[in-house]
Amino acid sequence: MDMTAISKQTSTGSSRENTQKEKVPRTGKLLGTAIRYLLLALISLAMAFPFYWMVISGFKTNDEIWQFPPTFWPETFRWSNYVDAWQSAPFARYMLNSTGVAAAICLFQIINSSMMAYALTHMRFRMKGILTGLILVGYMIPSTAVYLPSYLVLSELRLLDSYTGLIVSNCVSVFSIFLIRQAFMQVSHELVEAGQLDGASHFRILWTIIAPLVRSTFAVMVLITFIDQYNNYFWPMLITKDPNLQLVSAGLRSFFVEGGAYGLAWPQIMAASAFTIAPLLILFLFTQKTIMQSVNMTAGVNKN
């Protein structure tokens, strides 16, 4: 690439002196690029290393994992650690629980965020300003700070220790409303008016005209919400005490602490951590583009 660029310049008649001058920074640039690659490769490897360490430690025997210096490649691959770990706690159930709860939350958030965003962008009413302000403030205050009173509210509603409680208390997110509002603002109001002239209700306009137009925002919102909820730990752990209802993070944490596993069955613990994160890493590999796109949108959300 570089060579052809230089020879092109010579052939278009630039003086020899000029080409000479160009060559020095070019070698410098090449070296710079090489250093960039090297640095990036090293940093990326370092970032990926904990994942490798988790997976590989899951294959070691208990003796080997307690060896110093640690081995970077297990002497023998003990697949049975993974099987043991999988069987010593209901991980399949935990993962299914998390997936189900996260999916339900995504569904509710799509519905209520869309309706709220539609009202805020394409309907006229008195409370509009107040509501927008309320949501803006909601973005700034960490929800973890109100976990205690929310817990009491759920207990008053007799929804502790149930998925209903978990789903209902997570069914609205200020972030999702923001994100969808942003997308709806891009949709021309004339479309809504045209729909109204045709006699369509607001509800119909929202779901048959506008929603299909902002599919990609929905995709981003669903992915981000799903990942967040699947990984959620603090709140689900507080309100679901029944071990059968536990979500995957809480289940993993119990496995880590209980049954003398703390520091004793490390290969199994590492194996369990590895299969807990596997579905997310796979999801991420397939939906990377959409997830990265979320950054673009999130940044846009804040500008308004």
């Binding site: 640095l39 990036l40 205690l148 208390s169 609205v172 944490r253």
Partner: protein
């Protein structure tokens, strides 16, 4: 008239599915926790005893509270600044037509996607003092082993390393977008004026990406105030309170000591910090951020 009334009603109906849960699980609790902070209650007794400002005066004379405040501040600075600087650094490294940048991006971003609990468990093994990888690597450069999570001087550093590892790729992606949107003609014009790369960076790039920096610093600060999972798995606030942030202290006094009043007062302090920071950042953004 009836049409107008219907229009108002219909709009309100549209907001209800989001508004009701917001009121029940967010705005209501916000008011409730302020009330609870003026009471003495243990979850069990039928009556909440009104004690006025006693919880607050207790906090303000309690050394554990100041310790937590200090940890929260250290945790905030120690996570926000490196995440921003590191993320920008990585984005600058990736910005100039690097082949396979997609691969690098995937590797750097993946920690953000994974459950904090699972990765914190793996990290706590890396920080194991006797046989852990961290001490092996320190040994390679001739540094004697560190107690990491068991040492009050190092536990916060270890927790910060994990936090930084989780979020640096995330902030990098934000900066990648911002750098891609820089007007190239402006940078070229500066090159023609023979501006050095540092000058270009300082007087063009940095101001133009300031909205991203501003956005990240707010979000990351709020995230740092909410950090819980990694602390719970790795240190549970210890050793000797060295990793007990305000949020963690709030959790412990509420759900371990069942001291609702004190916990609520701590939560109110956290909320006040957020309001204060939002106010400051709003004022700062008017002066420093160039849109």
């Amino acid at each position: 008239m009836r049409v107008k009334l219907w229009r108002e009603t219909e709009a309100i109906l549209f907001t209800l599915p989001a508004l009701v849960p917001l009121l029940v699980f967010w705005l209501g609790p916000l008011g409730y926790i302020v009330y609870l902070s003026f009471t003495d209650w243990d979850f069990m007794s039928p009556d909440k005893l009104f004690v006025g400002l006693e919880n607050y005066s207790y906090l303000l004379t309690n050394s554990e509270f100041y310790q937590s405040l200090k940890v929260t501040l250290l945790f905030g600075l120690g996570s926000v600044i490196p995440t921003i600087v590191g993320g920008l650094g990585l984005a600058m490294l990736m910005n100039s037509r690097i082949k396979s940048s997609g691969l690098f991006r995937t590797l750097l971003f993946s920690p953000w996607v994974t459950p904090t609990v699972a990765v914190s468990i793996a990290w706590s093994w890396i920080f194991e003092p006797e046989v852990g990888l961290a001490n092996l690597m320190l040994g390679w450069v001739g540094v004697s082993p560190i107690g990491w999570l068991r040492d009050a001087d190092w536990a916060l550093v270890a927790v910060l390393i994990v936090t930084l590892w989780k979020s640096i790729g995330w902030s990098m992606v934000f900066y990648l977008v911002a750098l891609r949107n820089l007007p190239s003609d402006l940078l070229e014009a500066a090159s023609i004026d023979s501006a050095g790369s540092w000058d270009k960076f300082r007087s063009i790039t940095l101001p133009l990406i300031s909205p991203t920096t501003f956005f990240l610093s707010i979000i990351l600060t709020i995230q740092s105030l909410q950090a819980y999972d990694q602390i719970n798995v790795m240190t549970q606030g210890g050793p000797a309170g060295s990793t007990r942030t305000l949020l963690y202290m709030y959790y412990q006094s509420a759900f371990e000591s069942f001291n609702v009043g004190e916990a609520s007062a701590i939560a109110v302090v956290i909320i006040l910090i957020c309001v204060l920071l939002s106010g400051i950042s709003f004022l700062l953004s008017r002066r420093l951020v160039h849109y």
